[in-house]
Subunit: 300 residues, 2 copies
């Protein structure tokens, strides 16, 4: 009777159930939408767009958003190729906020060299909305006039500009007070309620698509802002690589539901109007960060 006292599932859509015999009139559920999805509704994520963080516990994989942060990702390409991240550490876990990793010696004489990479980059806090395949969703968003998805990423817009939104699992480039003080050498991932007040204030560049629990369940740091107070509490970063830099045996093959299809629109509606038996009073409404974009391992 383990399931007798559940609150309704959020993540079960990540493991789509087999197709069910459905009545033509049955309103869609997350499970039925995914069961009915065809091969064209999914996109295989190219290894060059997957950024792997290797920990003792295993890899965390991020899909990167080159349309939003090309300069930061180019810099990270250079840092990664030079092995900059290898042997660094997770330095911070702040409850209901972020996990952050980078060079514990950053800013001191012992800091790692950047090699060909740049130490400061112009901010990529937003870009033009035009030129994006933007799929809006009907949602009364607290922080943006318009919200929706671009290539699987949650996005806000004011009509002219578009920006990645700080939903759970989003990957960003830490910075100091100056807007151009980020470089991609210090990274964070959102591990709590979406801190949307950070939108347009920091460069986001990707989203966790595999293994985020290896970050989100880390012990919280007890120092200010969740920094670990002693070095032994830090989690070592074994290495960071883009997938195309990895031996084939270390790659994880993933596909993601496309967000520019009628299937995705049906998924959003199924999330808006939950018709599963458990729901007594379906919301009829949906928030941007409550639309999880399904990702699955190929061949499992």
């Amino acid at each position: 009777m383990r399931t007798a006292f559940c609150v309704a599932a959020a993540a079960s859509l990540l493991s789509p159930v087999p197709a069910l015999a459905q009545q033509a009139e049955a309103p869609p559920t997350t499970a039925s939408v995914l069961a009915a999805a065809g091969a064209d509704d999914w996109v295989v994520l190219p290894q060059e767009d997957l950024f792997y963080l290797f920990l003792d516990a295993g890899p965390v994989v991020f899909e990167v958003a080159r349309a939003f942060a090309p300069a930061h990702l180019d810099n990270i390409d250079k840092l990664t190729e030079a092995g900059y991240f290898d042997g660094l550490a997770i330095v911070r876990s702040q409850d209901n906020y972020v996990v952050q990793w980078g060079d514990p010696a950053a800013g001191s004489a012992a800091a790692r060299a950047f090699g060909d990479a740049r130490q400061r980059l112009a901010p990529e806090f937003f870009r033009a909305r035009s030129g994006l395949a933007f799929t809006p969703i009907d949602s009364r968003d607290a922080y943006a006039d318009e919200v929706g998805f671009v290539d699987g990423f949650p996005v806000g817009s004011d009509g002219e500009r578009a920006w990645l939104a700080h939903c759970y699992g989003m990957l960003g480039a830490g910075r100091a007070n100056e807007a151009d003080s980020g470089s991609g050498a210090e990274l964070y991932v959102v591990t709590g309620h979406a801190p949307r007040h950070l939108d347009r204030n920091v460069t986001l560049l990707g989203r966790a698509v595999h293994g985020i629990e290896r970050l989100s369940a880390l012990p919280r740091g007890t120092g200010e802002l969740g920094f670990y107070e002693i070095e032994a509490e830090q989690t070592p970063v074994l290495k960071m690589r883009f997938g195309n830099e990895l031996p084939v045996t270390e790659r994880i093959r993933l596909e993601r539901l496309r967000t520019d299809t009628p299937t995705f629109e049906s998924l959003v509606e199924a999330r808006r109007n939950r018709v599963e038996d458990w729901f007594a009073d379906p919301a009829g409404r949906i928030g941007l960060c409550n639309v999880p974009v399904p990702v699955r391992t190929i061949g499992e």
Copy 2:
């Protein structure tokens, strides 16, 4: 230089900084609002309204919402007095969703007896809005026509009804498909992005005010819905008690910022318009679950 690459702090308001010399014209910040708060802006939380979950790692403390879930809390009073929870276990941790505890044998012949407590309760999914000291906040909420705070709790309303909102840290009573199948014997706490689609679908009854990291950083369960697959993965619940049932030495004295004061309104505005140096483009907007209600230990 640990702080050189921070994303801005969310939790620092839990440790108010000493009062700063301020210009009269300086717009408020979270720190300045809390520094200027007087004794009347805080309320000492009565021990009979604090519900303690004791783990090997230490206590997690919840403030309970008797105005919203009186029947469930009365039932939990009975269960707690009878020692029902003592020796049970945390059975589930689902990433970006909930942590849940109760009787691993629930529903089987080995299930614990409820004694004088009830096995099923009428739902307390919402109540009348009238009769509440409701402090609305100006926010375009995705899930409710109106949102605000009542006695420190985040609340949604449609004008007639009011309900507790599933923000991070909220405590609820799990149930099966039938609306009256909850009892308070199986409890969950929100440990991810606010699952607001659960609002009005399950009885919420409190909010974590101390030690939530002892739940949110637990390893995620690898079974369906985040249930632990083997008993050894479960975390023992040593005991659960209301504060007035505890020896004084085990009590934690807490005070919470009142949410029906001009000080709280200033805090909301400071969160809406972040004027700290770090912010390049303050949102000018605020979401209900992004207003943390400060709680502090008395005498520290």
